[in-house]
Amino acid sequence: MTTVSVRYIVNDIDAAIDFYTAHLHFELQMRPNDLFAMLAHGDLRLVLVRPVGPDGPAGGGAPMPDGRMQEPGGWNRFSVEVPDLAAAVEQLRSSGARFRNDVVTGVGGRQIIIEDPSGNPVELFEPILPEAKLSRPAPSSGQPDR
């Protein structure tokens, strides 16, 4: 069951589907047209939309009332937990994936930012502390940010 929804803006629905399913092991749930797709990864539902102009359909990819078009990119992202970041990075690099940075080691874990074909960031995260794993409750240990 997917219980958390995140929307990403992409320029090419099929390229994005290929990326998320092949590289990050998402499951394709639906792709009713080339403006919209829905994928799932554990409890995360990823909604992909292609931006449309003022004459396009209403909904998640529509422009703002002031005319601003939506676009991919930025820094906000969801994170995907991997058991072995070094192995995941090596595999992704050999398949041509783009990374924004190198592996960064924080207090809670190691992380790196990968980009989807439209340039959206995805954080890959390998927890070091048990507390940093995706869980509820996530006990505090008074650690600085990671």
Binding site: T3, R7, G59, G73
Partner: protein, 170 residues
Amino acid sequence: MTPDPLEALRLPIMPVEPRPEFTASLLRRLRGERARVSGRGATVRYFVADLDAAVAFYCDDLGFDEELRPSPSFAMLYRGDLRLLLSVPGRAHALPDGTLPDPGGWNRIVVEVPDLDAAVEALRGRGVRFRHEIVTAIGVRQALLEDPSGNPVELFEPLAGYHERGLKGQ
């Protein structure tokens, strides 16, 4: 005593609020137990300019719970199965070329509310900015608002015909 010449370079020691979670976590470690890990949920990181303003916004206006705030530049919030990490951009997030992340963009969390009209009215009353007002798509009504740093948050209310797996044209 001679002052330590390195003292000026040290970071200030931040007071840490003792929390029940910390005690529980410490006890588990002392006993050699593993942390409780459910494996459920999903994690999203947002960059914010002002951590206090962001925590207040997400907790007071959008119903998140503060899980921990161990430093002035990081907080962890929960809303259901969504774990939201708020980070103030800093050296730890800089790219190799020095570029720092910043808030904004269009990718966003999508938060379900039972009554979108009421939610939008309440949020507007508190001065929350909207990128767009309520629009009706297929199976949903939605609105796009901004947190105090300008990050987008999408609110939606399911309509008749809405299905978790049958959602179209959203």
